[in-house]
Symmetry: C2
């Protein structure tokens, strides 16, 4: 069969046939034939971004909500580099993403032109599956294999490097979709043995991550936990967690190692379900990175290549749990404050009180979001998407991608000011696509977490060069102006009285809106001097954790 | 000798001792001890950026003007990824840059925490010199070696990966600066032979790039060219070119291959001086990437590891040229238009007419800047810094770095709207450091060059998905608002009457200013339909080139 398609057309058809229906793009000249081919594939939505980190983060957010991968279209090595931080986040969370990275024509590489570079070296940082497609005959099959690699399980970032001449040459044939993966079934004997261990244990916990934080797995986990008295924990940064409305609510592990090790202390058995064993995010002088207490046995029930729900159901059955999930205490809906200056806590409370049903929360609020969990626990059903790989600048693009995947659901992007500025260009695409995203910027004029970290390092001095590295107040940022510059209407709120109507406005109208919420930094030197604010911020946490943090961070 | 310094302190002292006096930073937790150590090294200026691409591009701009490298401080693999595009640009231009990339403590890597990744894979894309320093004993010597590698010659991007525990551990010793490189002297016999060849040639040209575009080399090149009748050409994207005020003015090769091959046609001998042989930036179906005409001999007089000025002087001497450079025709200063709507050409003319003495122009104006060269040729002495590696988003950071290196000189950043948005965060650092940068945004609401490229691909259709990929008009961008959001005062100009006073205002006050100049896209479909505008835009070019472009691009 002689095909009348060029490589780009066959690639797009292969993607669409396999269910890839969105491509987040920032193209250049070497991608021109791919761009031209978009008009030949009506099923593919092309969403333009002004920066590649927006495209890669949007593909991540899309896949988290759609459950299937989106594609990115990136321009050679530098374009992939710009997308790398958010691809890192996707990789760490096993979220499937398919990168199409355009490259020079195969005949052109030898000239070492300005944009020539070794794309594979960059791609390897985020992708185990990397291939430079070599011919128009191979492009269909390579694309199908790339999609299969991205889907997994485990999901991963797959990078297909597409030379311009493969894209433009005629004679390509689309390939059929990759075979759906056979889900790996957990080992029944191992589960029986684990059930016996847990049944006889005094203090045990199930640590849920990945797909174990979606409804069916949460219900199965609750069955198992109730049957053996285990605690339910959630990984620090969940990829997608379904919450609210009486769903089982595992306690989320804290980011600060002092807090997390308190949460884990006394455990005899820790069962991992698509979650890594808890370790400190960063290393600190004289401290171990391990957070699991000595003597606690760690068991892995399911990894990211296995079916977490099936594993949890099997564990619950082996524990003799009733087939219905136990009733879960419905957390009360928070009542919002009605007046006063804003604080990180009051913003979280107002969000909790006004959260619409079916909301998707992309949370990159960092230190300002400490109180978000408790404030939204009693809310209507919603999804929480967190910063999975620690590379900041993820929250806005993830919100964008989630909104493309779920056009009928309201999306909230909760952003720290520092983090928001890595991928602020996201706002323009939200406006262009008229996505229903409410962006709330917690503006505390600092890289606040670094204020805390510097204090732990022991550096002193109020006006030092060092401390200036975390100060975002000179000049003052104006996110309402930034939003206006990128086509998104915005408002500023300094008080509860201003924030409440602003949030009503943003949630009540279709399309994107931004609210800049001016809040004091939780960890700023001024706040810490005006004790006990630094500790009051911790009051949103369960009491023993706050106490532990107080003792360890501020022994004086 | 027992040192009382920790690794970070010894590193900073080694850098400062070797003359590295600026560090463009975007730190995180793993860099906290480096940040704390900034207070121990008064000679090091730390310039905070809100995004790593700003830091890496600023280090490039700094080194181009200072002639010695600056450092960057980046946060693990994702931070390096965000900086990669502008490091690519520096690599392609042989500009020395020293990356300090913080990493987890050596003891922490085994936990595969969220920010863990293979940093080397990313670094290899831009750095031949990559080292993870392994101990506090090694950090001083590693730092000195990194600086030496960055300086070269040839200059390069060197990446030193700094584990947190090496940074915080005591007992480090600063290392002495690397030995200054012995400049490689060009081979005298080869130069004699080349002189004989050129003396007998009818049509020859010297193609100048790299350091051959600075005054001493330009004057030597002019001597040699006058002695043998050779033409002086300049590479497409000069790293740093000194211009104006009667300096020899080599003709810059055009970006479009149709134009460049016209410039080169008929040559018998082409002599490369720190410039690569001209090739097409991108490949096109059915066209060769080679631009050097068949039968033209290519000679390399000096590469980036050699002394270009010495080589050109030797060539001139071998040609028997008089020791004084020949008089150069001083181009007349352009007269600015006084009224009417703005066009890319009128903006360039106004810039040319108002250019202050000693200005540094960072040019990323893309299609809007076609007329910039002729418009500024007759201006006062100035430096031109171009987009060396083709990775857009370089212009604003390079302007920032140049302003840090040259605090007493006015800097102009001429930016295409699309390109500006990759690293728009640069504006905040310009305001924070109160740098004297005048940013002019050519707002044509399009990735205009891609409009042209899509037409060459042959895609048609006015409202196609494909064409929408280049349309930046929905929503409309507002750079005055963006500037305000980042602390920079701005104005918008739609007419000559508005631009002229706006530019006076920006150049007349210290500190950064932004002017959004609203211009029609040179290559937009509307402009091309309303012929002969598309051709009129070419009128700024030498006549035969414009004619050649017309015939080749628009044969109808």
């Amino acid at each position: 069969m002689v095909s009348a398609l060029n490589g780009a057309q066959a690639l797009l058809r292969t993607l669409a046939d396999a269910g890839v229906r969105a491509c987040f793009t920032n193209p250049g000249t070497s991608e021109m034939h791919f761009v031209a081919a978009l008009d030949s594939e009506a099923r593919m939505r092309a969403v333009l971004a002004l920066f590649e980190g927006v495209a890669s983060g949007a593909a991540d957010g899309y896949a988290r909500m759609a459950g299937s991968p989106a594609a990115t279209l990136l321009h050679l090595g530098p374009g992939l580099g710009n997308g790398l931080a958010n691809l890192h986040n996707a990789r760490k969370a096993h979220v499937p993403v398919l990168n199409i990275v355009g490259d020079h024509a195969t005949t052109h590489a030898r000239y070492d032109t300005p944009l020539q570079s070794d794309i594979e070296t960059v791609a390897r940082n985020v992708s185990r599956w990397v291939r430079r497609t070599q011919s128009v005959q191979a492009i269909g099959a390579d694309a199908a294999e790339a999609i299969g690699a991205a889907i997994g399980p485990p999901g991963q970032v797959a990078t297909l490097i597409l030379p311009a001449d493969v894209s433009w040459s005629q004679g390509a044939t689309p390939a059929p979709p990759p075979a759906p993966p056979a889900p790996r079934v957990p080992d029944a004997d191992a589960i029986e043995a684990l059930a016996r261990t847990l049944a006889g244990a005094k203090r045990s916990a199930l640590l849920l991550g990945g797909g174990a934080l979606l409804k069916p797995a949460l219900r199965a986990a609750a069955r198992a936990a109730a049957a053996c008295g285990a605690q339910l924990l959630c990984e620090v940064f969940p990829t997608r967690m379904q919450r609210g409305a009486g769903l089982p609510a595992p306690q989320r592990l804290a980011y600060l190692p002092e807090l997390a090790s308190t949460q884990l202390s006394g455990l005899q058995h820790l069962v991992l379900v698509q979650a890594p064993a808890p370790v400190s995010f960063f290393a600190y002088p004289g401290r171990s990175g391990e957070l699991v207490p000595a003597g606690c046995a760690v068991h892995e029930l399911a990894d990211h290549s296995q079916d977490a729900t099936a594993a949890l159901e099997a564990l619950a059955d082996a524990l003799g749990a009733p087939s219905a999930a136990p009733p879960t205490a419905v957390a009360p809906r928070v009542s919002a404050p009605t007046r006063g200056p804003l604080s990180a806590e009051s913003v979280c409370a107002i969000i909790g009180a006004m959260l619409p049903e079916g909301a998707i929360i992309s949370d990159e609020s960092q230190t300002s979001g400490v109180a978000l969990g408790p404030a939204t626990a009693g809310g209507p059903p919603h999804d929480l998407l967190a910063l999975t790989g620690g590379a900041i600048g993820q929250g806005l693009p993830v919100a964008l991608g989630a909104a493309v995947a779920c056009p009928d659901r309201p999306v909230l992007a909760l952003e720290a000011d520092g983090s928001a500025l890595y991928t602020i260009q996201s706002l323009w695409t939200m406006a262009r696509e008229q996505l229903d995203v409410t962006v709330i910027i917690f503006r505390n004029d600092a890289y606040a977490i670094l204020e805390l970290e510097l204090q732990r390092v022991g550096a002193r001095g109020a006006h030092s060069k060092a401390r200036a590295q975390f100060d975002l107040s000179r000049p003052e940022l104006d996110f309402v102006a930034l939003a206006a510059g990128l086509g998104v209407p915005g408002r500023r709120a300094r008080t509860v009285e201003e924030l409440t109507p602003a949030l009503s406005w943003a949630l009540g109208e279709p399309g994107p809106h931004l609210i800049e919420a001016v809040v004091p930094s939780v960890f700023s030197p001024a706040r810490l001097r005006a004790m006990p604010y630094g500790l009051r911020a911790l009051s949103a946490l369960p009491r023993p954790l706050a106490g532990a943090l107080r003792r360890r961070l501020y022994p004086g």
